[in-house]
Subunit: 350 residues, 2 copies
DNA sequence: CTGAAAGCGCTAACAG
DNA sequence: CTGTTAGCGCTTTCAG
């Protein structure tokens, strides 16, 4: 090693200095650092990994879409990983690709990551390959075969329940739910929370409409629902669908929130600026990433330590202008499909 | 190596089989594959990298935000990288962190990536470290010291020009521009295109308002502009700002598009579902990623080959409901700030 | 506190 | 077609 020669020490001393190991005299340390600097020396990570069995890298399995939730998580994960001195490797899965998670995981493991985080997995039915490094699962039930699995979740069911209750407390007889794809654990959680709220209040449970998270699917659902004016309140499983749904309502001549209230989920940055500004739930995605990774890194670096599971993240309901009490005189239940709404002109908001 | 022993061959033969090298008998190949299978053998990538000097990984320097452009590109990049049989390493930069790109690049290079893509860099003023692997720069002028730099861009100036011309052709006397942060090359491109269009049509060039890509900044700009009703058309540098701006206009009692037309940029999935549906430009981000990476991988695998620069991606203007001809009787230029708009009630859309 | 020797698990080069 | 011999550049023993 040239650095060692230039500094007139052994290779091992260089290694010690660069790894901040103790038992090196200040003088040697200075000399080595100087030599390394002069030579523009950088350690070869592949060699380090081979010799030490560690890569100081963390792999993340995420979904290959630009959806708000997964991408926000990814951004948060990257930041925390970097701050902790690790590097990030990414393997995305494609929806509908069976065994996608297992494949992505295998690829990451091949690369020798020290730990992996599985972000918002969807239920693939299949069992997962066993993993010999610590795993962090973000937003799903812990059902992975790994020596050390830690999980962190937002407790979406609690949130969904709060959203639904907000609507119920406004006086709506019941609340419809525009659900996310049920292969997603987060979509199931939200559905469950909605159902809990309805039961707790003794409200009817209307049939669930399922979307695919997109505004387009929300729009389609909105057209379906627009014909039925007993629908006075909808809890959508994410903001995009909520916005699509609102759009469909407006086009059908129903006003939001006067005729129908809508609550979203996520608090995307746009939520406060659409018309009407959307009442929604903020997901503490950043806290989730931060908290989960702190746990994961702790387990990586202290293989023997016991870890307490992460606490659920807090709920935050943002009441804006898309929710209001139900319209005074709900149409009688029967023949409702026959009632034609004259276009009342544009949707209003003072 | 156990696999070699089990199959009764040399280590090198195993290596050959696993690397799909020629000159191995079908029989041996079968035997080796079988043994590897039985043992659940996986190659150690660190050792491969050390011995071969290649990692079959590509690094990407991206911005650590959840903005639509950067994240969509990242998703596209990941997919193409995976399809090409490479793995992905990510290093994000933080806005405002000087030398962020250089640092991220250094981290990636340390990891021994075979190539790197710099996605939507911002101008950091500082020079960039020199790089000894092929580099793909997405969306910026090529000014990097690297043996092989390839670039691909969307030609945002052409797009911006088209957006501005759309407004001009609708009859607007001029078009205001709500720009993105000028440290971003893409923001500069859009500004340049807007300016070109104005000049070509001999229109006045109003002062530029600069936002930070967020809907909140668009809203702030919208409030500023709302007092001036000579402003009949605005080209916003992205959809989020356009939506924030529209919101501010509506709150000020100005109708979109009757009183003021707005064009966005990006065609985020929500653009067609906000109120009014946003006229915008679709960025062929996916094509960009695909095209750029094809080039990069070609250069990685054929170090000697000459490459033609990627062709600019095509323009696609999506005319929806946020643009219309200007209002019939524009208020005279003077005293315009004194004119109070009685709240005309809600913004309309038939 | 410091150094010498011995690999980590693979692939490159050269023989057979 | 197949095997042998050396390393890749570090970190880990284990002695000084």
């Amino acid at each position: 090693m040239d650095v060692a020669r230039l500094a007139g020490v052994s290779q091992k001393t260089v290694s010690r200095v660069l790894n901040d190991e103790p038992y090196v005299s200040a003088d040697l340390r200075r000399r080595v650092l100087g030599a390394a600097q002069d030579l523009g020396y950088r350690r070869n990570q592949a060699a380090r990994a081979l010799a030490s069995g560690r890569t100081r890298s963390i792999g993340v399995v995420t979904l290959g879409t630009a959806l708000y939730g997964p991408t926000s998580l990814l951004v948060g994960i990257e930041r925390v990983v970097r701050e902790a001195g690790y590097t990030l490797r990414v393997a995305a899965t494609v929806e509908g690709d069976p065994g996608g998670i297992a494949g992505a995981l295998a690829s990451l493991l091949d690369q020798g990551v020290d730990g992996v985080v599985i972000s918002e997995p969807i239920d693939e039915g299949a069992g997962l390959i066993s993993v010999d490094v610590p795993v962090l699962v973000l937003g799903a039930p812990p059902n992975f075969a790994a020596p050390r699995v830690v999980t962190a979740r937002v407790g979406a069911d609690v949130h969904a329940r709060a959203a639904t209750e907000h609507l119920l407390e406004l006086g709506h007889a019941t609340v419809h739910h525009l659900a996310g794809p049920q292969r997603w654990y987060s979509a199931r959680d939200r559905l469950a929370g909605w159902r809990q709220a309805l039961r707790a209040h003794g409200a009817d449970e209307p049939p669930v409409v399922e979307g695919d998270w997109s505004a387009a699917s929300g729009y389609a659902a909105g057209r379906e629902l627009a014909g039925d004016d007993t629908v006075t309140a909808v809890f959508a499983a994410n903001d995009d669908m909520a916005i699509g749904l609102i759009r469909a309502q407006l086009e059908a001549g129903r006003r939001v929130p006067e005729d129908i209230s809508v609550v979203g989920f996520d608090d995307i940055p746009l939520a406060a600026y659409v018309t009407p500004p959307l009442t929604t739930l903020r997901q503490p995605l950043d806290g989730l990433a931060r908290q989960g990774l702190a746990l994961l890194i702790h387990v990586i670096e202290n293989p023997e330590a016991e870890v307490a599971p992460a606490a659920d993240q807090p709920v935050e309901l943002l009441v804006r202008a898309s929710t209001a009490p139900p319209p005074p005189r709900p149409t009688s239940g029967r023949d409702r499909r026959a009632i034609l709404h004259p276009p009342r002109g544009p949707h209003g908001r003072p």
